[in-house]
Symmetry: C2
Subunit: 204 residues, 2 copies
Amino acid sequence: MDKDAKNRLIEAAMPLFPAKGYAGVSIREIAEAAHVNSAAISYYFGGKEGLYEAVLDVLFSQIDDAIHTIDVLQEKPQEFIRHFAMMVLNIHMHNPYIMLYLYQELSHPSPYLEQIIQKHIRKAFNTIHIAISKGISAGIFKKDINIEHAVMSLAGIINFYFFMTPVRKIVLKNYDDNEKEYVQQAISIFLNGIRRDCDEKKHT
Amino acid sequence: MDKDAKNRLIEAAMPLFPAKGYAGVSIREIAEAAHVNSAAISYYFGGKEGLYEAVLDVLFSQIDDAIHTIDVLQEKPQEFIRHFAMMVLNIHMHNPYIMLYLYQELSHPSPYLEQIIQKHIRKAFNTIHIAISKGISAGIFKKDINIEHAVMSLAGIINFYFFMTPVRKIVLKNYDDNEKEYVQQAISIFLNGIRRDCDEKKHT
DNA sequence: GTCTATATTGCGATAGAC
DNA sequence: GTCTATCGCAATATAGAC
């Protein structure tokens, strides 16, 4: 069973690395969870680090795949941003580990972080950037906004919620896990917030 | 030098834990950075875990201290939210480690996470919750918004930006680090987005 | 390709001198 | 209160049998 053992190792390692931190997981532990011998990790991936890199690759490829399902050029900016947000929601619901690995990478970057950003995150950033630019040109969004900042605001308003899930479970009395409703309201706030015909009175 | 060695250990450990993960840092490494003997960690903190807990305590106490500087009851909701955001900005600029520890705790919670949330984060959440409620009662904010979701949106739009700093440095061409400008625009987007007299036309 | 056994290294904690 | 030395343990990686 060649491919099978490899895939089982990746699947088994996926939840373990963020749960205990890279250094906190032992290859024995991963091998046990995958029902393979610990020596198989060195055999297939050249060692623990190679396995970690393989997990990263599997995870972040999913972002690319998802981005390809929508086309920024063929939709109105607001519609595109809504679709994009729903796509992000979908990723979080189906694979909660992507964000955990991203956060792990951001606090202690591995040599592959830059590669991941260039390969997978930059495209998402650029796509949103284009959508907002189009909206400004079309007179839908305010023209004096900093677009790069707006992209970060959109990313934050959507993603932070998912990352804070453990906090929400403790802080919220009636925790009901309505992620879709959250994203819809968040996107409404964001789109309302950058709309051109909705200027806030300046407050000195 | 009693207190001095203790404090030096906390200061030395602060950047190391998030940089390599809890398990990835050795007590010898921390002791060396603090210019104390490694045995001092067990002597002062009862072991590595006690030192980690002490670092958490020092860091998250700062949130409490900052919250006490503004009073939700004595300001208009918008003003309060702006002040709160500037306070968060201030914390991030003066101590980048709080967020790193929060992220570390969220991906692999230590036994102290719940304690930290109850002691330090819940109050911040409740304070914002009150400000938004007041704004709704006063007819300033939309009355049909989910307040808890709105609090998460506000937290996300502000905090995510700081956490993504390493990504921003790679993705943005002219990275100029204008955090204050970011927060001001983000808050404007958020406040505009929940304003009552600014309803978005429904799509569909 | 898969296993056992092991070489080697480094860890956290502590006993005991000063 | 601070140091050295060391104990006991667990880690990764690998050699070699099957």
